[in-house]
């Protein structure tokens, strides 16, 4: 089974467009989906790619913010992003009103591999890391790939509703407070699920991804794992060199790769997990 390899990040596909807000829908507790009309980008976006959204006229906040494309409907020309309020930029996006204009730069980065059927893809999402999976699930489903879904969050209200994925999935979940599914972390229940998967795609905090990677690396038979990483970004298109993440070079040597061009999605074995975890978390930047 040779999966279709991810297309390399191709800046020629990126558009600097303007989206128009169609509405902001609450999703569970403290999470929203922001829907925009943005046909230029909606027709190009692939699973796991991201957009740099402008969160104001500037100069405060100054930089765009990166968000994974959650949904892209080429026919309707609609893009959706899933997010929670963690700071000024996300607060502004969550407060958009219908008709407000938003700068959309994208699609950017390298996305997830969509496997060739027959195959089962296990999608592993921690918290806001659910964002890229509706688009990935729909692409896989259209292609005939079976799907499993493992979602972890602090509480039931923070889980991403499986029915919103837009594709049939075998659904599993873990909550820290035990309010739905297993009590604990998703990594507590990941092991057994690997047996049924041909491939794993994961997105969430770096610490969670590192644990997922170590569990997958120890499982037999070993399944390919792709992870979507985060890094603070200056530009999103490979120019500022600001989003370096530690990777292992071909010869295993220490190296760095740009999260916005080589990633955000990378093969797990490419990532230098111990160096990554030694860094201050991206969300403190």
């Amino acid at each position: 089974m040779t999966p279709t390899p991810p297309a390399p990040s191709d800046i020629a596909r990126a558009r600097c467009a303007t989206g128009v807000c169609l509405g902001v829908e609450g999703v569970g507790d403290d999470r929203v989906e922001v829907r925009l009309t943005c046909p230029e980008v909606a027709e190009l976006a692939r699973p796991g790619e991201f957009c740099q959204l402008q969160v104001g006229p500037g100069p405060v906040p100054l930089l765009r913010r990166p968000f994974s494309v959650c949904r892209a409907d080429p026919e309707g020309g609609v893009l959706a992003f899933y997010l929670g309020v963690v700071g000024e930029g996300t607060a502004r996006l969550a407060a958009l009103r219908r008709g407000d204009r938003v700068g959309v730069l994208g699609p950017l980065g390298r996305g997830f591999t969509v496997p060739d059927p027959p195959a089962t893809l296990l999608m592993v999402a921690g918290g806001l890391g659910a964002a890229p999976f509706p688009l990935l699930a729909q692409a896989c489903h259209r292609r005939g790939v079976a799907l499993a879904w493992l979602n972890g969050a602090a509480s039931a209200g923070r889980l991403y509703p499986a029915e919103r994925l837009g594709a049939p999935v075998a659904s599993h979940c873990a909550t820290e407070d035990g309010s739905r599914g297993a009590r604990g972390l998703l990594t507590d229940i990941l092991g057994p699920l690997l047996a049924t998967a041909d491939r794993v795609a994961a997105c969430g905090p770096n610490r969670m991804l590192a644990q997922v990677a170590s569990i997958v690396a120890e499982a037999t038979p070993r399944v390919p794992l792709e992870v979507s990483l985060e890094a603070p970004m200056g530009c999103g298109f490979g120019t500022c060199l600001g989003c370096a993440v530690p990777v292992r070079a071909g010869d295993g040597a220490r190296a760095l790769a740009l999260c916005c061009r080589t990633g955000p999605v990378m093969a797990a074995e490419r990532v230098d997990w111990s160096r990554l975890l030694a860094l201050p978390p991206a969300h403190a930047a």
């Binding site: 800046i11 906040p61 930089l63 730069l105 600001g242 190296a255 201050p280 930047a285």
Partner: protein, 319 residues
């Protein structure tokens, strides 16, 4: 150059409006709006997001003798109306530049100036020598002011070592030589005088200002190491304008203004205090075609006010 050329010579301009900017040693920029070092790579990254052909100049990423991997992450952080970076001069080294990049620049309408960096004078000289006479390379911008590598600042804040470095590079190349000044010098005008005396054809300023951001949650700076990085963006525009005005009074050579330019108004403000040209930096990150928008706005201003040259904008007290 006396002829009317480029986009700014289009209908609406008074006959005789000259949009070009002479830098010296045969280098004339088609217009005054360039892109700043480290914010436009080597000109290949942005593709259709910002077509290069109408730009006034491209100043490349800082280039050293050997490839450099750059600093550990995180490397960027946002601040009020600005950003910090500590990229640490990640670059492929001068050989890649002369072998792979320069040939592609040869057919471009836009002059490309390679930003040269180094750990000591010998490295600056070695890089400059390797670029001398390379087709496609229109000039050098000597970065004696990078705050993010050990030793990078020393040349920029003290007139004597700055002059020594420039004199050595001047002897090694016939290329037009722009020297990029640091805003962290106690008296930037003194440094400017020194580097012009040592052979600089023009000066550009400002490079980033040393800054630091703290994460209270982590109890430490956000950037690694000592935690400092280079501050850029609108926050530093007033600092840059003050230093450009000061340098304008100190030297006769062309001055290229840099720092927080996002709009045509920003660029024109630099011309008021004496800049002959400008560079758009951080703004490209949020608006990839920022430099072209700035150029269009400047040209519209020139038409509206029927300027004969950008010089007409200059504050009379600067002569």
């Amino acid at each position: 150059m006396e002829t009317v050329s480029g986009g700014a010579g289009s209908p609406g301009h008074p006959v005789g409006f000259d949009p070009t900017v002479a830098i010296g040693r045969g280098l004339t920029l088609p217009n005054p709006v360039g892109v700043a070092s480290g914010t436009f790579g080597y000109g290949f990254d942005l593709g259709a997001l910002c077509p290069v052909d109408r730009l006034g100049a491209i100043f490349t990423k800082g280039t050293t003798l050997h490839p450099r991997p750059g600093n550990d992450p995180p490397r960027v952080a946002e601040t009020p109306a600005g950003m910090l970076n500590a990229i640490g001069l990640q670059n492929p080294g001068v050989e890649v530049v002369r072998r792979d990049y320069a040939p592609r620049w040869r057919d471009w309408a836009v002059p490309v100036l390679v930003n040269v960096a180094g750990g000591d004078i010998a490295e600056y000289v070695a890089v400059a020598r390797r670029l001398d006479g390379v087709a496609g390379v229109s000039g050098l911008e000597l970065n004696i002011s990078c705050p993010n590598v050990a030793g990078g600042l020393d040349f920029g804040i003290d007139p004597r070592p700055a002059a020594r470095c420039v004199a050595a590079v001047r002897a090694a190349t016939g290329l037009p030589l722009v020297v990029k000044l640091s805003p962290n010098a106690a008296d930037v005008a003194e440094v400017a005088r020194a580097v012009v005396g040592a052979g600089a054809d023009a000066v550009s300023l400002v490079n980033t200002v040393v800054g630091l951001k703290v994460s209270l949650a982590l109890g430490r700076p956000v950037l690694p190491g000592a935690g400092t990085g280079g501050l850029s963006g609108p926050a530093i525009k007033p600092i840059a304008l003050a230093q450009v005005a000061r340098v304008r009074r100190a030297v006769e050579v062309p001055v290229i203004g840099i720092g927080g330019i996002r709009t045509a108004t920003d660029a024109l403000e630099f011309m008021v205090v004496g800049a002959d040209a400008v560079q758009v930096g951080t703004a490209t990150f949020t608006t990839p075609r920022a430099a072209l928008d700035v150029l269009d706005g400047c040209q519209a201003h020139a038409e509206r006010h029927r300027l004969c040259a950008w010089r007409d904008l200059r504050w009379s007290a600067l002569g």
